[in-house]
């Protein structure tokens, strides 16, 4: 900062910083008043290829606000969207900005476990509420659970556990596994192994991160040679599309049936369809929700989302929609008063709103206790590819870490 005094460009920059400081300083002191808007921060990934997920979540949040008429318990709502750029450190910075500068009452969003874990302390230290609309790391479900943390998605282990159960029911005896080599990938494997009673005959952990591996030829060749009954994968985001194409090109559809979690969704399917990757049709995955889930809230959500954006909402969108509705339910219960934190917390815990997933309740660790379904990729009446529920796998399933959560 010192030499900044010496040159015009730097002086302008530092001056700008301090003017902004003063400006927001006067701004912030007014914020506590009761008729002021409810402020919600939403942290997601809006840049990088994962930005397509963030855009879907943002669309869902905006739809939820529209359904609420822009108000919660009569108070105006302001949502601040922040981009974490897929990096935990940036996510934490943006969370700090939301808490310390915008002075939001709730922080929601978070696609990635590592971003959520890095950011959580900032929110808890300020005694604000953190609502995860996707990431569900075990650290926040078990011993590290927190009274101000709520999830409108799932705990990482649950979805693959449901998939393991499906494999048992289908009589799959041997399984080949391909996962990205990072924490969530390992959680998915651990989840399947919790319930799957057959044998994992081979597994490959592929490089992930900045120069992640997108050519799976070596692994697919191994999988084909392994003679397994099924192939289990987890490739979120654009890696999923790359994998599925190569799976099709390797001609494995009939030899090695595909079972996936968080890979085939409404974001990847339109692109796979455009590229003619028929191999994905008929593949199975498990999920707590699907666009065709039969309840009033979901029908309205899916229909309005499709009308506005032309495509089906993804599960990320469904969770984000629910996160806004959850906040609304708390404000309704407290009459729009956020000063009594215990009352707000108790209201959140009741989850008294019409979720797009149908009925659910929060467990002791504030993760949903909810149903899990088997979904199949099909072509809908308009010729678009989507997922359809074919079976109920779990009714009212709670994650295995909840028992460790003692508050």
């Amino acid at each position: 900062m010192s030499a900044a005094k010496k040159t015009p460009a730097a002086a302008v920059v530092s001056a700008a910083l301090f003017v902004t400081t003063l400006f927001t300083g006067t701004f912030a002191t007014r914020a506590a008043a009761d008729d002021a808007p409810v402020k919600i921060g939403f942290v997601t990934t809006l840049t990088t290829p994962a930005g397509v997920i963030g855009a879907d979540m943002k669309n869902a949040v905006e739809l939820a606000l529209e359904h609420l008429g822009g108000k919660m318990a009569g108070r105006e709502v302001r949502v601040f969207f922040e981009d974490d750029a897929f990096k935990p450190e940036i996510g934490r910075q943006k969370t700090g900005k939301l808490i310390k500068r915008e002075r939001v009452d709730f922080v929601a969003g978070y696609i990635w476990s590592h971003v959520l874990l890095a950011s959580a302390k900032t929110v808890f230290d300020a005694d604000k509420f953190l609502i995860s609309a996707n990431a569900g790391p075990s650290q926040l479900a078990g011993k590290g659970c927190h009274q101000n943390f709520f999830s409108t998605s799932w705990q990482n282990d649950q979805t693959p556990m449901a998939l393991g159960e499906v494999l048992n029911r289908r009589g799959v005896k041997s399984l080949y596994v391909m996962l990205p080599n990072y924490a969530a990938g390992k959680n998915m494997l651990a989840g399947v192994e919790r319930t799957f009673r057959g044998r994992v005959v081979g597994r490959d952990m592929t490089k992930w991160g900045r120069d992640r591996q997108l050519d799976f030829s070596a692994e697919l060749a191994k999988a084909a040679a392994s003679g397994a009954d099924g192939l289990f994968i987890f490739y979120p985001g654009s890696a999923g599309g790359a994998f599925l194409k190569q799976y099709q090109q390797a001609g494995l559809k009939d030899r090695l049936p595909l079972y996936s979690v968080f890979t085939v969704d409404s974001l990847s399917l339109p692109r796979l369809q455009a590229a003619g990757i028929e191999g994905v049709l008929g593949s199975n995955s498990t999920m707590f929700w699907a666009p065709d889930l039969d309840n009033a809230a979901n029908k309205k959500f899916v229909a309005d989302f499709k009308a506005r954006h032309g495509n089906y909402p993804s599960f990320y969108a469904a969770q984000s929609y629910d996160s806004v509705m959850l906040i609304d339910s708390a404000l309704r219960a407290t009459g729009g008063d956020l000063r009594d934190r215990d009352a707000v917390r108790a209201a959140l815990r009741r989850a008294d709103f019409a979720s797009v997933r149908g009925d659910f309740r929060f467990g002791n660790n504030h993760f949903p206790v909810q149903n899990f379904y088997l979904r199949e990729v099909v072509e809908d009446a308009d010729g678009n590819w989507t997922t359809r529920i074919t079976d109920l796998v779990y009714r009212g399933h709670q994650d295995p870490y909840a028992a460790d959560c003692a508050r």
Partner: protein, 319 residues
Amino acid sequence: MNGALRAFFKLRPKLPAKMFGRRAVLPAAALLLLAPPLLFFTGQDFYLDLLTRALILAIAALSLNLLVGCGGMVSLGHAAYIGIGAYSVGIPAHYGVHDGALHLALAVSLSAAFAFLTGAVCLRTRGLYFILITLAFSQMLYFTLVSIDAYGADDGLVITRRSSFPGLQLEHALVLYYCVFAALALFLFGMRRLMHARFGRVLLGCRHNRARMRALGFDAYRHQLACYVLSGAVCGVAGFFLGNFTDFVSPAMLDWTRSAELLFMVIIGGAGALFGPLVGAAVFLVLAELLSGITLHWHLLFGALLIALVLRGQLFTRG
């Protein structure tokens, strides 16, 4: 020998330390000393955070400046030391050891050791090869950390309690700030002494003409290796502070883009200029903060501005 050295520097480029006006130092130091409590007690924690981050990155940039500015060694792997320093806090804290002295000792010694081992290989190469082999070593460390499940792998580790020294808790934002400030002041002072000392002059000499320095009887390799190790150790301290400041560590801290950002800070402030890294870090962070508030596509502006800053040459020093 010293006579010969002096004769060599008859042709020397101006010593960078001299290029900086002394008059700006005192007011700037006063500002950095007095502003934080003001920010803290008026509820502007966000700006205190920004300032703390700027000073921490300034320490890292200063260590890189020692390498680039004085030694002429362009490293694209300096983020590795930030990672080592941060993990020196994260891993002991994971086992419930919060002793700051231990964390700091680990940060410095492990960084120095890594710098010594890799530097011994890197310094056999020059130019482009040097840039890319430093990058390769930091990538190796990155992939190592990504694959260690016990320390959170890709998710990293959350630091629930910051390092504690007897009578000093980094938990408090102001305490952490002043510790960083003190460390930076110390390193600036050390850097100034070093640039004027024989060691610094030999380094400059090696940078401009290795063969000549060798002819004068100096062992260029050993001087440069010493500089490389010193730089790594100082950057380890920056990592120690960054780990404490962000309350978590993850392999993403070692991403090669971080190394490139540090280089930007050095060159924006003026390579070799004593206070350059401080200016560079501040300008870099403030620009990023302001631009990212304007548009989602701020990288477009940011990239263009960075290019302009680099092409215009070292903005903040005249020489």
